[in-house]
C-alpha cells in the first residue's frame, strides 16, 4: 500500500510538471503582446521596454521557463499583468474561497438529490413520478445555464422577491446561484443513476438476493444501489473540481466575485502569469481529486482494489 502511494505521488508530480510546462509554452505561443493588450493607453516605446523588462519578458524563453519553474516550486505564481500590483496567489486567495463555497454548496445538494431522484425514478419505473423525474432531468441537461439562471432570477427575485437578484453577501445571496449550478448536475446524475439501477435489476445476483428471502428494501439498499453507484464514482471527483473552480456563466450572471471568470478573461488579456497560475492550481486539484476517487473506488468495488 505504501509503495502504491509513493508511486501515485510520483506520477502526480510528473503530471503537474507536464501541465505547467505545456501550458507555459502554449501561452507564450499565443500571438500578441501582453503589455500592450493590458494597457488602456497607447504606451510609448520606452515605457513598453521598461514594462517588458520588469516582467522579465525580454529574456530568452528558456530562461523565463526556468524562472517560472523555480517560482512555481516555491509556490510563487508571480504578478498579474492585467491587475497591476496584484499577485496571482493573492487573486486566488481572495476569489477561490467564494467559488469554492458556491461549488461545494451546489455539489452537496446535487449528490444526494441526483442519487435520490435516480433511485426513485428507477424504483417507480413507468409510474407518474418516473416520467416527472425523467422529464425534469431531460430539461435540466438540455436547457443552458444562463436560461436557468435568468428564469430563477425572474421568478424568485423579481416576481416573488424572496431572494436577491445578484451579488454575494450573506447566505440568501448564495441560494439562486447554488441552485443554478446544481441543476445540471442533479439532472445528469438522475439520468445515469436511473439507467444504472435498471441495468442492475436484471443482474443474476438480484435474483439470488430475492431467493434468499430478503425484503425488497434490503435488496435495493444492499445490492442494487451500491452496485449501481460504482460507475458513477469516477465522474464525481472531476465534477467536484469543476464546481469548486467556479462557473464563468453563473458568476457573471449573479455578479459573484469568484475565480471562474478569471479563467476566461486572463486568456483574452494574455495575462501569462494568471493563466499559468490558474491552470496549475486547477491541475493540482484534478490530480488530488482523481487520487481520492481511485481510493474510494477501490473501497466500493473490491474487484479493482489495489493489491499490496
Amino acid at each position: 500500500m505504501k509503495k502504491y502511494f509513493l508511486k501515485r505521488l510520483a506520477i502526480s508530480i510528473i503530471t503537474i510538471w507536464l501541465i505547467a510546462t505545456c501550458s507555459f509554452f502554449l501561452v507564450h505561443a499565443l500571438p500578441g503582446n501582453p503589455i500592450a493588450v493590458n494597457s488602456s493607453k497607447i504606451l510609448s516605446m520606452e515605457t513598453m521596454e521598461r514594462m517588458t523588462a520588469y516582467y522579465g519578458l525580454d529574456k530568452p524563453l528558456w530562461q523565463q521557463y526556468l524562472t517560472f519553474m523555480n517560482n512555481l516550486i516555491h509556490g510563487n505564481l508571480g504578478y498579474s499583468y492585467k491587475y497591476p500590483g496584484q499577485t496571482v496567489n493573492g487573486m486566488i486567495k481572495s476569489t477561490f474561497p467564494i467559488s469554492a463555497q458556491l461549488g461545494m454548496q451546489a455539489y452537496l445538494i446535487s449528490i444526494p438529490l441526483g442519487f435520490l431522484f435516480g433511485i426513485a425514478a428507477a424504483r417507480k419505473r413507468g409510474k407518474a413520478i418516473d416520467y416527472l423525474l425523467v422529464g425534469f432531468s431531460a430539461l435540466g441537461v438540455s436547457v443552458p445555464v444562463f436560461i436557468v439562471a435568468a428564469l430563477l432570477q425572474m421568478v424568485f427575485a423579481v416576481q416573488l422577491k424572496w431572494l436577491p437578484v445578484s451579488l454575494w453577501r450573506d447566505f440568501s445571496y448564495t441560494i439562486l446561484p447554488t441552485l443554478t449550478l446544481a441543476l445540471g448536475s442533479i439532472a445528469g446524475r438522475t439520468r445515469s443513476m436511473r439507467t444504472l439501477m435498471l441495468e442492475i435489476i436484471n443482474e443474476d445476483y438480484m435474483k439470488t438476493a430475492k431467493a434468499k428471502g430478503l425484503s425488497n428494501f434490503m435488496i435495493v439498499w444492499k445490492h442494487q444501489i451500491r452496485n449501481a453507484m460504482i460507475p458513477m464514482i469516477p465522474m464525481m471527483g472531476l465534477e467536484l473540481v469543476g464546481m469548486l473552480m467556479g462557473s464563468f456563466v453563473v458568476e457573471q450572471i449573479y455578479a459573484i466575485p469568484g475565480i471562474g471568470s478569471y479563467f476566461v478573461t486572463s486568456i483574452q488579456s494574455l495575462d501569462y502569469t494568471m493563466v499559468l497560475g490558474l491552470t496549475v492550481f486547477l491541475g493540482v486539484f484534478v490530480v488530488i481529486a482523481n487520487f481520492i476517487v481511485d481510493i474510494i473506488y477501490g473501497f466500493i468495488d473490491p474487484r479493482i482494489r489495489v493489491t499490496k
Binding site: T208, A211, L214, P302, R303
Partner: protein
C-alpha cells in the same frame, strides 16, 4: 408413501413482450415428496426454469404473468401469497442454486455477508453466531479454510468454489425444498460430478427434497428418484427413473434417450438428433406441441393436445399413442439403454 411436500397443478405462465405474449409454461403439473429428488429435463426454452422460478415467485411481474394453476406447498397455495408473505418462504422453505455462480453473487459483497444476510433474516442469529453458522456451512460443502473464505470476495474464488458457496448459501437455513437450476452447466466435467455428489450427499444428510433442472441425461440417472420430461411448456412424461429410462412412452423421450451418446457406439455413426425445432411459444400449436417433429404423428395429434395418461404406477405420458384407439408404437431400437447394473446400482429407481 412419504409426505407430499409440493404439488404443482396445471401451472400456466406467460410473458408479455413487445411482439406479443410468450406462453412459456402451458399447464405443467408435478409433485414432490419429502426427501426425494425430482429431475426436470428438457431442451432450452421449454419452461423448466420458469416453472421453478414461478414456485419461488422470483419472476418480475409484469412482464411475467401467472395465468392459471395452483402450487400447493404443505397445503398452502403459494401463488396466493403476497410478496411480503413469500419472504418467509424464500430462503427458509425454498432455496435455489443458480446456473452461473459468477453472476449470481454480488461482486461487491464479501461471501460471508452474502451468507449471513439470510441467516440473520430466517434464523434470527446475528454477529458471531451467524458467522459460525455460515462458516459451518462452508465447511460442510467441502471448502478448505472456510474461515478465510468467509471474508473473501466472489471474484477471488474459482468456479467450483463459488458454486459450493452458492450451495452453502442455499442450504444455510435448512430449506425443505432445494431448487437447483442447472447447477453444473458453468462447470467443467470433473467439477460437475463433484458438485452433484455434494448435492446428493447434502440431500441425504438433511432430508431435503431437491428439484434439479438439467438437460444432461447422465446427470438424471445419477441423481433422480423421479423424472419429469418437459417440452414446449408442458410436462410430456413423468415417472420414476426406471420408468423413464426403460419404459419410455413419449416419442420425445425416445428422441432424448436416443440422442444420448453411447460409449459402445461406433465412431462412424452419426449422433442421433431430433429433427426440427421447438414450436414458437408466441403462438403455440393447437394440437400436440411435438407433433411437427414426431415420427409417429397422427391426425388427432394435429387437432388436439393430448391429455395426460397415467398408469397405475404413476407413470404419466402426455401422448395420443397411449390412447386405446391408437395403433401400438414401441420405442425404436437402441433407445432404451442396456442396464449396466440390472440388480440395484445407480439406476435402481
Amino acid at each position: 408413501m412419504s409426505e407430499r411436500l409440493l404439488t404443482v397443478e396445471n401451472l400456466e405462465v406467460s410473458f408479455s413482450a413487445y411482439a406479443g405474449e410468450i406462453h412459456a409454461v402451458r399447464g405443467v403439473s408435478f409433485y414432490l415428496d419429502k426427501g426425494e429428488t425430482l429431475v426436470i429435463v428438457g431442451e432450452s426454452g421449454c419452461g423448466k426454469s420458469v416453472s421453478m422460478q414461478t414456485i419461488m415467485r422470483l419472476l418480475p411481474m409484469p412482464p411475467a404473468q401467472i395465468k392459471n394453476g395452483t402450487v400447493l406447498y404443505k397445503g398452502q397455495d403459494i401463488l396466493k401469497k403476497t410478496d411480503k408473505e413469500m419472504e418467509r418462504y424464500r430462503g427458509k422453505e425454498f432455496a435455489m442454486i443458480f446456473q452461473d455462480s459468477m453472476t449470481s453473487m454480488n461482486p461487491t459483497m464479501r461471501v460471508g455477508r452474502q451468507m449471513t444476510e439470510s441467516i440473520r433474516k430466517h434464523q434470527k442469529a446475528y454477529g458471531t453466531e451467524a458467522k459460525k453458522i455460515a462458516v459451518d456451512m462452508l465447511a460442510k460443502v467441502g471448502l478448505p479454510n472456510p474461515k478465510q473464505i468467509f471474508y473473501r470476495y466472489p471474484h477471488t474464488l474459482s468456479g467450483g468454489q463459488r458454486q459450493r458457496v452458492m450451495i452453502a448459501m442455499a442450504i444455510s437455513c435448512k430449506p425443505s425444498v432445494l431448487f437447483a437450476d442447472e447447477p453444473t452447466t458453468a462447470l467443467d466435467v470433473t467439477m460437475q460430478a463433484q458438485i452433484l455428489e455434494l448435492i446428493n450427499h447434502l440431500k441425504e444428510e438433511t432430508q431435503t427434497s431437491v428439484v434439479l433442472v438439467t438437460h444432461n441425461l447422465g446427470v438424471v440417472a445419477k441423481m433422480a428418484d423421479r423424472i419429469a420430461v418437459m417440452y414446449a411448456g408442458q410436462a410430456v412424461e413423468s415417472g420414476t427413473v426406471r420408468q423413464i429410462f426403460y419404459e419410455p412412452g413419449h416419442p420425445y423421450t425416445w428422441g432424448l434417450l436416443g440422442a444420448m451418446p453411447d460409449m459402445l457406439q461406433s465412431r462412424k455413426e452419426k449422433l442421433y438428433t431430433i429433427q426440427g425445432t421447438p414450436p414458437d411459444l408466441f403462438a403455440p400449436p393447437v394440437g400436440c406441441a411435438f407433433a411437427a417433429r414426431c415420427d409417429y404423428c397422427m391426425k388427432a395429434c394435429l387437432k388436439e393436445n393430448p391429455s395426460e395418461y397415467t398408469d397405475g404406477k404413476g407413470h404419466m405420458v402426455r401422448c395420443w399413442l397411449q390412447d386405446a384407439r391408437s395403433p401400438k408404437a414401441e420405442a425404436p431400437e437402441g433407445v432404451i439403454p442396456i442396464p449396466l447394473f440390472p440388480e440395484g446400482g445407480a439406476l435402481n429407481g
